[in-house]
Amino acid sequence: MTIAEIHRLLRERLGTIVSDDLRDAEWPLCDVRGQSIAEVCAMLRDEPGCDFDCLSNLSAVDRKSDDAIEVYYHLFSYRHRHRLALRATTPRPDPILPSVAQVWPIANWLEREAFDLLGVRFTGHPDLRRILMPEDWVGHPLRKDFVEPDEYHGISTRRESLLKL
């Protein structure tokens, strides 16, 4: 199936949760309603003809000016060698999305990274805790309004001049 056909199939099955336009590019991009992303992904993986058996990338982007956090899912199919990108948007003050860890096991760690660095919570995730930052870190570093704390466990992060220790 071509990507256009897959998109049409998604629209038929799931209706308005999949947006109408499909941006044509190397990774065709399609917007999906945030709360149903897990359903869409499960369908994309299991539907014969789609067979998106690999989640190539999961990136969260902090759109401060739009007051939203976008999460991009780049899907790839080894069987049919076609690609698709999905974008789920969630409001910035309380970003929650359903987890796709049941669909692709790698999403477990990728979602943990999105949670750790940007604060997106994934419901249904088996083990949502920080992965790169220490367990007791406060804040989500890749947010646009992240301010570095003054100290961490007694080690100061403020220096008057780079030439002094």
Binding site: N108, L110, E135
Partner: protein, 386 residues
């Protein structure tokens, strides 16, 4: 770093009423293995592991956040540090992502220089990987021989850009410098010396019975699991999936070269065991030599870099570009908002997925096997943590 999600030291009742205890061992961030700062909390029942839980983040340098501050051109040296064992391919990934955003075409000579640099980097990285695998299994000699060859490659790459580990050779739009005079001759002399050495290496260690026993049938990753866990590169090909970004989603001038893609065939065990992944890397070195000979023979004339403005302002948009790095396809996701600084950079690396899969495949392995598995999955800490 606490691991409060893991319950420690469960005391269990045996059917005969004996109490047994699992040991919780810490294979800590410092250990005499070459793969960098990785930590595993191993819950072991004697020698057999019940779970090996990876704990990453010890080498997290917030490279992705730094990109938002230093700009597009300034980020190039940072990309070397994403995977310092094979830094050229990371350079290429970033350069290609920026070129995709702005629609820049790299001149052909620049592409050829990039391919030459990347393939030498691939050989160097695989040498380190197979040498470190040998050393972790206990054979210390192949490591020193591999490093000796890697030093010669470092010499060659030093001629290109002046650095031996973190090259910073490529720029957005091409390469920073042209090939120096005499480079082709010296590079081909090295290849003439190196290709028979791969066979010697194989004779020394790859077909050794003890070595095969240590690696065959250990940590078999079937193809479906490899795909579901997004394993890439030699890890994926070792499980029998014939996919190489250079062949199946080609970029740069790779379509002009003829080379094979070695795939694991379960020659000494099952398809997808550690020995397959190891042999795929050995064979990939030979294929890289082939590509290099073709590239060195046919470098076209012309400029090596396209004209790119000093302040690089790509139009707003996203780009997701994959390059075949030594550890598999590395995905570079760049979001631009039209300004001179990237809005978001996300690097999805092969070692990240390899660390994720260890928890799954380490059930029932022995502690000695864990070291072999980490080595054959070719995990380097900078890629995992960025």
């Amino acid at each position: 770093m606490s691991t409060n999600a893991i319950d420690l030291d469960i005391v269990r009742e045996h059917p005969q009423g004996l109490e047994t205890e699992e040991m919780t061992l810490n294979m800590g961030p410092q250990h005499p293995s070459t793969h960098g700062v990785l930590r595993f909390v191993v819950k072991a029942d004697g020698e057999v592991m019940r779970r090996a839980i990876p704990d990453i983040g010890y080498l997290h340098r917030s490279i992705e956040k730094i990109a938002e501050k230093v700009g597009y051109h300034g980020f190039m040296p940072y990309t070397d540090r994403v995977d310092y064992v094979s830094a050229m391919q990371c350079n290429q990934g970033w350069a290609m992502a920026c070129e995709a955003l702005a629609g820049i075409t790299v001149p052909r000579r620049g592409e050829y220089c990039r391919v030459i640099a990347c393939e030498f980097g691939r050989i160097a990285s695989h040498l380190l990987s197979v040498g470190a695998t040998g050393m972790d299994i206990g054979a210390v000699t192949p490591f020193t021989h591999a490093i000796r060859e890697r030093e010669y490659i470092n010499d060659i790459l030093e001629e290109l850009c002046g650095a031996r580990l973190t090259f910073n050779f490529m720029r957005i739009g091409g390469c920073a410098w042209d090939l120096p005079p005499g480079f082709t001759r010296r590079a081909i002399a090295f290849l003439d010396r190196f290709e028979p050495l791969i066979d010697e290496f194989n004779e020394l260690i790859s077909f050794n019975k003890i070595y095969v026993e240590r690696l065959a049938d250990v940590a078999v990753i079937p193809a479906e699991m490899a795909i579901a866990y997004n394993l890439v590169g030699p890890n994926l090909r070792g499980s029998g999936v014939r996919y190489d970004v250079r062949k199946d989603a080609p970029y740069s001038v790779y379509p002009e070269f003829e080379f094979d893609v070695p795939v694991g065939t379960g020659e000494r065990g099952t398809v997808g065991d550690s020995y397959d992944r190891y042999m795929v890397r050995m064979r990939e070195m030979k294929e890289s030599c082939k590509i290099l000979r073709q590239a060195l023979a046919g470098v076209p004339e012309g400029p090596v870099v396209a004209k790119v403005p000093r302040t690089f302002r790509p139009p707003a948009g996203e780009a997701y570009v994959r390059v075949e790095a030594s550890r598999g396809d590395m995905g570079w996701f760049v979001v631009s908002d039209g300004s001179a600084f990237p809005y978001r950079v996300h690097i999805r690396t092969g070692s990240f997925a390899a660390m994720a899969v260890i928890e799954e495949i380490s059930r029932g392995l022995m502690i000695a096997d864990l070291v072999a598995v980490i080595a054959t999955l070719d995990i380097v800490a900078p890629e995992v943590d960025r």
